[in-house]
């Protein structure tokens, strides 16, 4: 029974793998609709997981809710960061989560991979601190002190390290599997075809951007210290890592998105290189893309682009949500909206608010 379903899954996996490699993030979308910590306790409903990802799910079932939360965190932050842009990180019901548009190696795709990878790091390190994961810090303790690595001897506090390890193991898996598979299988002719080359370039781009996401979390960590010597002197000082707020990670990655570097795949060296200034090394902290972004203005059903029609814009803004920019010069409708809002709320720190209602009248601009 188990073996059969496993076989089925592997089959399904290999079918999906070709079309969209980002679909482990589907775990995050399904978590958006159902209540978190819902029923999905195995990976057998998730389309498009690679075989290595399936193995992670099988060996560490208690990791699944955390991976879902991580993907969810990444997607939610992506939508928050892009809420005012022409492409607003909208998700579709397809297994590729964002639609075919994610298969274009654009800077948007680069951002999505980075933020999802960062989301997993964040979610795993959080789950460790909450106590939801059983094998967190002590497991990834460096090898040198293995003989003494016990909790009693030296303690363990590598939550973020663990998050990074899990993210590397799970998020990078499809790219690694695909790369390994594509070489021995591909014939010489195959290897030279344009699509195969583009695919390999894309794998490298994804791996790079996943790492950028992880490094963004790591670079934003800062240590918090406390002294506890005799009468408050600092003879003994203990420090621990403070994990950044995920908004902060999103902000940093969004800035990297703006400064993303265009790269090309160098088939001889099997590496990606800058398109311009080829000699310059690609920084480990900058996002990369291999294709120009598609036009996000008009709807494109094939790519899953919704277009900006109907989007709310801001008439007076100077940013990208300004109506002329967002609507791609297509004009906008203005309607007067009368709304009832909560106001003058009484503050209770949790659970219930007692508010008055205040009417509000304002102009709502939407793209034509």
């Amino acid at each position: 029974m188990w073996r059969q379903s496993l076989l089925l899954c592997v089959l399904a996996v290999s079918l999906f793998e070709e079309s969209a490699s980002a679909s482990w993030m589907w775990m995050g979308v399904s978590a958006l609709s159902t209540r978190s910590n819902g029923n999905l306790t195995s990976c057998y409903g998730v389309p498009g997981l690679s075989s290595q990802q399936m193995r992670v799910c099988e060996n560490k079932p208690d990791l699944i809710p955390t991976l879902r939360l991580g993907a969810n965190l990444g997607i939610t932050e992506c939508q928050r960061q892009f809420q005012k842009e022409r492409w607003n990180c909208s998700t579709t019901n397809s297994s590729s989560v964002f639609g075919e548009v994610i298969n274009i190696g654009s800077r948007e795709a680069g951002f999505v991979y980075a933020i999802a990878s960062a989301g997993v790091v964040h979610a795993v390190s959080r789950a460790c601190r909450v106590g939801n994961l059983s094998d967190c810090a002590c497991e990834t303790k460096r090898k040198r002190k293995q003989q003494y690595s016990g909790w009693e001897w030296g303690g363990c506090n590598d939550d973020v390290r663990h998050g990074i390890a899990i993210s590397k193991m799970f998020v990078d898996a499809p790219e690694h599997t695909a790369r390994v598979q594509s070489y021995p299988l591909a014939t010489a002719q195959d290897r030279s075809t344009r699509s195969a080359r583009a695919k390999r370039g894309r794998y490298l781009m994804n791996l790079h951007n996943n790492e950028v996401g992880r490094r963004a979390v790591q670079n934003l960590m800062h240590s918090q210290c406390r002294c506890h010597g005799v009468s408050g002197s600092c003879t003994v000082k203990t420090c621990w890592d403070k994990v950044p707020h995920f908004f902060h990670v999103g902000d940093v990655l969004k800035a990297k998105y703006r400064d993303a570097v265009e790269v090309v795949y160098n088939k001889r060296k099997r590496r990606i290189k800058r398109k311009e200034q080829r000699r310059m090394r690609i920084s480990k902290d900058s996002l990369v893309y291999i294709e120009r972004s598609p036009n996000y203005c008009s709807p494109n059903a094939k790519l899953g682009i919704l277009g900006t029609s109907g989007r709310v814009c801001n008439k007076t803004s100077e940013g990208v949500d300004q109506c002329d920019l967002l609507c791609c010069g297509g004009g906008y409708n203005t309607q007067v909206v009368r709304e009832v809002n909560r106001c003058q709320c009484r503050f209770v720190w949790c659970c219930h608010v007692t508010c008055k209602t205040c009417p509000r009248i304002y102009d709502l601009h939407t793209c034509k």
């Binding site: 003494y148 001897w153 210290c225």
Partner: protein, 479 residues
């Protein structure tokens, strides 16, 4: 009467110094390679439990309680959860681990995560002071295994009120959005870790209190304890050092006792220093540093040839009193400024003296300078090491591999070892020697000089250097 330092041949002295260096290195290596870091901090995020309305004050365990994932879930919960039903629960250590009595102490702090919500602002008081957070905390313990296993038992309960200092960080993508960065609030400390597991329940009263703290999303909790491995290494070092130091002290005491005169103040001070150091192997360090400084003052004074009365603790009461305030750097400054140059000045005058007197002063100066250099070296190293350790700890380390030496542990054991080696080498080197000084030409004269130098009357402290030199030259002229 000469001390061993003066009678020792250069070769033996070098061998002795090498031995000391070897011992010191051992201390550093034990700390850096065997011991783990001195302390560990473990981060927790509180689980959110919903208390049963009929048992509002019960101790809640995150594993068995009615858990919700977030405060947001409480808002949409059909059960109409009230704020006073929300209990933040933290169980330490994490699941599958157990506290150990080797941990010595536990210190904790909490930090709040606040979400930005236009309806619930974090508001400062009218005078600009931070709002106060009031919470009721309960600490409970249990033992999992063994004959004395039991369920959670309450240890303390306390209602606390603390200022909540937070700063708003605006999101770059949306100027209306952001989050709060709050400061850590010291929570509690436990002086001994007797039980296997501990549980903290935090309740935040609502309505009258906590109405300015904004919207809480999480309570972060950090638990700090001394590492068991560090405690074991530390105790082992002390166990090894203590009997050795006691043996050296006994040897010193017997040496002094064998003399046909009363023991000198310097010898008494040296003995006291040894006793205190031996005690430091058991007790705290404060006493040690106080005694060490007193010894320095006495030592400097006894070698200062410009004091009218010596060999009497009363003449040092000022200095010893000042040490009560304990200012190490001032003392070093004082030593090098006043004494060192004074002695240097005297050295220039030495060739003009008689041979016997020359020997006498050379011995004194040699003894003094030797100690001073070693002392300044040790004190300097201590300061440097503390600076290194605090810089070292404050950095978040990246990279594939961390350094393979536990620097802060090495500094702890190294400094401990250094002062032990320092004191006991002093005790050995400055113990009265039965042999005559190597360069001496007659023990009779030596003894006579000893007597004279001890009883010689000099100008009182506070005189200028010129007068000392004057006195000095006057004396050599008389000779």
């Amino acid at each position: 009467m000469a001390v061993i330092l003066e009678t020792l041949r250069l070769r033996s002295l070098l061998a002795f110094a090498l031995l000391l260096v070897a011992i010191l290195i051992t201390f550093f290596v034990v700390g850096g390679k065997i011991a783990p870091a001195p302390t560990t901090a473990t981060s927790h995020i509180a689980n959110i439990c919903v208390a049963n309305l009929t048992k509002m004050d019960a101790i809640l365990d995150p594993e068995t309680c009615n858990r919700i994932d977030s405060i947001k879930d409480a808002e949409s919960d059909p059960r109409q959860i009230r704020a006073d039903q929300i209990v933040f629960t933290i169980r330490f250590p994490h699941q599958g681990l157990s506290m150990s009595r080797w941990f010595q102490f536990v210190a904790t702090s909490i930090r709040l995560d606040l979400e930005h919500d236009p309806e619930f602002h974090y508001r400062k008081n009218a005078d600009g002071s931070p709002p106060s957070l009031s919470f009721k905390a309960t600490l409970a313990y249990r033992n999992k295994q063994g004959p004395d296993s039991h369920d959670w038992q309450s240890m303390y309960t306390s209602l606390q009120e603390r200022p909540l200092v937070c700063e708003f960080v605006q999101s770059q993508s949306d100027s209306n959005d952001g989050y709060y960065n709050c400061e850590d609030i010291p929570f509690f400390e436990i002086g001994n870790v007797y039980y296997e597991e501990y549980l903290v329940n935090v309740r935040l009263p609502s309505l009258v209190k906590n109405n300015q703290i904004g919207k809480i999303t999480d309570i972060n909790f950090v638990e700090i304890h001394q590492n068991g491995g560090f405690t074991k290494v530390w105790f082992t070092l002390k166990t090894v050092v203590a009997p050795v130091s006691i043996l050296i002290l006994i040897w010193f005491a017997q040496r002094v006792k064998k003399l046909r005169r009363d023991s000198l103040l310097l010898e008494k001070a040296l003995f006291c220093l040894g006793v205190v150091t031996a005690f430091m192997n058991y007790i705290r360090q404060g006493l040690f540093y106080g005694m060490l400084m007193s010894f320095w003052v006495i030592f400097a004074g006894e070698h200062l040839v410009d004091q009218p009365e010596r060999n009497n603790l009363k003449s040092y009461w000022k200095q010893v009193g000042a040490i009560g305030f304990g200012c190490l750097s001032l003392l070093i400054f004082d030593l090098s400024e006043r004494v060192f140059w004074n002695i240097r000045g005297k050295r220039a005058a030495i060739p003009t003296m008689s041979r016997a007197r020359q020997l006498q002063y050379r011995g004194l100066i040699y003894r003094f300078e030797f100690l001073l250099v070693v002392t300044i070296l040790c004190a300097g190293l201590t300061v440097v090491f503390f600076v290194i350790s605090s810089v070292n700890e404050a950095q978040w380390k990246f990279g594939e591999e961390e350094s393979t030496v536990e620097i802060s542990s090495a500094l702890f054991t190294g400094i401990y070892g250094m002062w032990n080696v320092y004191v006991f080498s002093l005790v050995i080197l400055y113990a009265p020697s039965s042999a005559a000084p190597i360069t001496d030409d007659g023990s009779d004269e030596n003894e006579r000089l000893e007597l004279r130098s001890r009883t010689e009357v000099r100008v009182s402290a506070g005189e200028t250097e010129e007068s000392v030199v004057y006195q000095f030259t006057g004396k050599s002229a008389r000779d």
